[in-house]
């Protein structure tokens, strides 16, 4: 993705840095480019600089260094109201003294649009979010989900090409979130708008986005489509942050092509795919997804397997979740599908576990 030419990028951050206090960098060397129509999610733990990036893009914060470009033009010096970027806020920011219709009419009025045009657009926007019947209400008379829909409609009513959303669903319950996630992606897709979406809910990020940028410590740790992010994390932070993950620390013993052998701190040897390691003797942390681990594996003759003790067996319906003691760690988890022939371990039982080397990624040691 980094090789995407910056010229065709609709939104581009180029070497952007941001500091609020002149002492610490909240955003460190951010490079990002998005094509038109993409749904990109910024995902990361609290305080990692997601909102800051969004605010710089919207124009409410200025970048300390670097350029932010929209459609090839640097917008660093353009004031927010001229950027034509739609925005949905976490607390919706619906104007409490205006009705729903007036809220939607506001961006059209400041664009000096005629009354009949305005009414047509408001109606269309409200219908789009299935809120046509609520035009006369005040925001306080709406439920959280309804307010969110109105906020969305307001950000879309003036037909911006780029829409920013900062944790728009953060305050809603799970079911409503899922409905709205679906609606937002559909809308964005239908309208062909470019969306930058901020969340710290990884499921939301994975289900909605074309690409996800994982933020930590003011940097993008990985920028990739959801499947790649989950299956091929580039570093141990991403591996740990996205989905459930088993991490084992060790040292590279031997490396050859796309295979390497790692000696764990407990002394055991395992096979792995070298991702962030290049030579033997290097410290590493390997990452294996719980569903890629096999009990009593039928692997090749020279494959390494590990001895494990079952600590806990949880029946979860569609899957079984087994917690094991492996290589001196108590938090190794294996997920197996509920099949007729599936092994059901009892606590205390000793089993052997193993995996395909390509499912075990040797990443950087933190």
């Amino acid at each position: 993705m980094t090789d995407m030419a910056n010229q065709d990028a609709f939104v581009a951050f180029e070497r952007v840095q941001k500091s609020y206090d002149g002492e610490t960098l909240v955003v460190k060397d951010l490079n990002l480019s998005m094509p038109k129509g993409e749904f990109l999610t910024m995902l990361g733990p609290s305080g990692s600089g997601k909102t800051t990036c969004l605010m710089m893009l919207a124009g409410f914060e200025t970048a300390t260094h670097g350029a932010i470009k929209l459609d090839g033009v640097s917008i660093n010096d353009i004031s927010p109201h001229k950027r034509g970027i739609g925005m949905v806020f976490q607390n919706y920011a619906l104007f409490p003294h205006m009705t729903v219709a007036e809220n939607l009419s506001f961006p059209l009025e400041v664009r000096k649009m005629g009354k009949s045009d305005r009414e047509a657009k408001i109606k269309r926007a409200l219908d789009m979010v299935q809120m046509g019947a609520f035009a006369g209400r005040r925001p306080t008379q709406l439920s959280g989900g309804q307010q969110q829909r109105i906020a969305l409609a307001r950000a879309l009513v003036f037909e911006p090409e780029l829409v920013l959303m900062d944790e728009p669903l953060g305050a809603l319950d799970k079911q409503l979130r899922e409905t709205l996630q679906f609606e937002i992606t559909n809308l964005a897709h239908d309208l062909g708008i470019t969306v930058v979406y901020v969340t710290h809910d990884q499921t939301e990020a994975l289900t909605m986005s074309d690409r996800v940028a994982v933020f930590d410590d003011g940097r993008i740790q990985q920028l990739a489509p959801p499947d790649e992010l989950y299956e091929k994390p580039q570093n141990s932070f991403v591996a740990q942050f996205i989905g459930e993950n088993n991490a084992l620390d060790g040292t590279v013993q031997d490396i050859s092509g796309d295979r390497c052998t790692v000696r764990l701190d407990s002394g055991d040897l395992i096979d792995a795919l070298p991702v962030n390691v290049s030579k033997s003797g290097e410290k590493t942390r390997v990452s294996i997804r719980p569903e890629r681990v096999e009990f009593n594996p039928q692997l090749g003759p020279d494959a390494h397997t590990l001895e494990a003790e079952v600590l806990e067996f949880v029946y979860m319906g569609d899957v079984f979740r087994t917690r094991l003691r492996v290589a001196g760690r108590d938090d190794f988890v294996v997920k197996t599908r509920n099949r007729a022939d599936q092994v059901r371990c009892a606590p205390g039982e000793k089993v052997r576990i193993g995996w395909l080397p390509e499912d075990c990624r040797a990443l950087d040691a933190p």
């Binding site: 409410f60 109201h81 506001f106």
Partner: protein
């Protein structure tokens, strides 16, 4: 549910069919109400002492003030006989009241003068007509002249008429007299005077005046009736009684003396009360004096209120005062106008400051807040006087302007002791009352609204005006109400920097309370002020809605 109801119905005779009933068979609603009432009573009992305290200290003074503005009992209480006589008198004809009114006046005034109440009445009537105060004071001093005429003649007839004991024996009940004679200082309270039986019939005026004298001597002065000679008023009364009544049937104590006097009185020299009062002060023959007394004799009067709106009572009903005597209307208008100006300037100056306070980083905002509150920590007098120093003609601002050459030394600006000075100083003093509510309202407006507006394409100004400002209106409302009501009743600052053109109605109220002592008028002015404030409050509620007022 119906089963339960049906089962319980026989238990209660007042439960209507279909009504919910509680376990004891009473209707559920009744039980609930009873339980709630008990709870309410208990809660009320807990706050009762405080409530009482608040009522006493808060409501009572206001009620007292409202009452004072119409209360006028002093005239009829001090001059009961005269005002009773005046009720038949027609003030419009131009005739003076007849002799009986003068007689009543003499009796009333004499007793009032002995009890030193006449000067109070004089001051009260002086509000309505200048000269009344001195008339009453002067009359109180010379009132003995009339009585002395009779007193001298009675004394010449029999020296005992100038002695305390014979009088006490004549007028007092025999039992009382005995007790009184046996009484010594060490016994404590004197036996209360009792009139002799039949005395009220025999000598009605004398009995009445002597009884009044007895109360005065015993209770007010603590003197023995056996040692204190009666007022000359009693001699006057006796003369009148003896002229009118026949005492030949009397056989009680001192009958000899009384009968001798009865025989002699027809030859006594006498004066009419009218002439007597005229001799004391010829104003008593003035028609307007009597008119004023009659106008203000009822127990309640609207006179104070009329006065407060530049009107006065005349026999033909209320009338406006002459142009040059009208002051209160002007003062009310000026107070309103200046309070509005002050409120307006407070909004203009306070809004940006409150905005800064609400939007600066915490530390800077706190510092600024201290600056805002600083005026609260300095004496009001000091602040007001500081403005005097700043604004006077030889003051700091004028000096600077002259030094800069903007103003000629000869015509320095007059900025103090007028409306301008008052508005400046009061704006400064009341500014915190505007800033604080504004600030607390602005603090509740999240900055994301402004951002949202801008992201929707609004310029800074549009975002402020269409989004931020409407949400801060409740703060403006609260601040305006506070400032306006405070300034309407402000006193010290206009007093110090207002001069003659910048004073408020409250300065006039203060004047009437502490200088002219016309509390009734002060109360009426205060009541009107209260009514105006309530009226404005009501209008505000109608137009803006009082629930749109937020203090935070």
């Amino acid at each position: 549910m119906t089963d339960a109801t049906a089962g319980a119905v026989p238990a209660s005779k007042d439960a209507k069919p279909g009504q919910m009933v509680a376990a004891d068979g009473r209707p559920l609603k009744e039980s609930l109400n009873r339980a709630l009432r008990l709870q309410k009573m208990r809660a009320l009992m807990l706050i009762a002492p405080l409530l009482l305290f608040v009522l006493l200290t808060f409501i009572a003074p206001i009620a007292d003030m409202l009452f004072r503005s119409v209360q006028n009992g002093i005239v009829s209480e001090t001059l009961p006989r005269a005002t009773a006589g005046l009720s038949d008198w027609d003030a419009t004809t131009g005739d003076l009241p007849d002799e009986s009114v003068y007689e009543g006046l003499y009796y009333d005034l004499f007793i009032a003068a002995e009890r030193k109440l006449h000067t109070r009445l004089g001051s009260r009537l002086n509000y309505e007509m200048t000269g009344m105060s001195s008339l009453f004071r002067q009359s109180g001093r010379s009132l003995d002249d009339i009585g002395d005429v009779y007193f001298d003649q009675f004394k010449d007839l029999d020296k005992n008429w100038d002695e305390a004991e014979p009088w006490a024996a004549l007028m007092g009940d025999a039992d009382w007299l005995q007790e009184m004679q046996a009484w010594k200082k060490a016994d404590g309270e004197m036996p209360e005077f009792e009139l002799a039986d039949g005395m009220e019939k025999l000598l009605p005026r004398t009995a009445e005046t002597y009884a009044a004298f007895a109360v005065f001597a015993q209770v007010d002065e603590g003197k023995s009736l056996l040692k204190e000679e009666p007022w000359v008023l009693v001699h006057t009364a006796l003369y009148q009684d003896l002229m009118a009544k026949d005492v030949s049937g009397y056989s009680g104590p001192q009958a000899e003396m009384l009968k001798a006097a009865d025989a002699a009185v027809s030859g006594f020299e006498s004066v009419t009360f009218k002439d007597g009062m005229n001799a004391i002060d010829d104003d008593w023959l003035s028609h307007t004096v009597w008119q004023t007394i009659k106008t203000y004799s009822p127990e309640f009067t609207n006179g104070y209120f009329l006065n407060a709106v530049d009107m006065q009572k005349t026999p033909d009903g209320p009338e406006f005062r002459s142009e040059n005597q009208r002051i209160y209307g002007l003062l009310f208008k000026r107070t309103m106008f200046m309070s509005l100006m002050i409120t307006g300037s407070c909004i203009l100056l306070g809004y940006p400051v409150a905005w800064l306070l609400a939007n600066l980083p915490m530390r800077t905002a706190n510092l600024l807040m201290i600056l805002v509150l600083l005026p609260f920590w300095t004496s009001l007098l000091v602040r007001t006087s500081a403005w005097k120093v700043m604004l006077q003609q030889q003051g700091v601002i004028n000096d600077v302007l002259v030094w800069l050459g903007l103003v000629n030394d000869a015509d320095r600006l007059v900025m103090i002791n007028n409306q301008f000075g008052t508005i400046v100083a009061m704006t400064h003093i009341l500014l915190p009352f505007m800033i604080l509510p504004l600030y607390s309202v602005m603090q509740t407006i999240p900055p994301s609204y402004l951002r949202a507006a801008k992201s929707l394409g609004a310029t800074n100004w549009t975002a402020f005006w269409r989004v931020y400002f409407p949400q801060s209106v409740p703060g403006i409302g609260a601040g305006s109400i506070l400032v306006f009501i405070l300034s309407i009743g402000y006193y010290i600052t206009p007093e110090i920097v207002g001069g003659t053109t910048g004073t408020f109605i409250s300065n006039r109220i203060a004047y009437h309370i502490s200088s002219s002592l016309n509390w009734g008028l002060a109360a009426a002015l205060g009541t009107i002020l209260l009514a105006v404030v309530l009226g404005l409050y009501w209008a505000y509620d109608k137009i803006v809605g009082i629930d749109n007022v937020k203090l935070g």
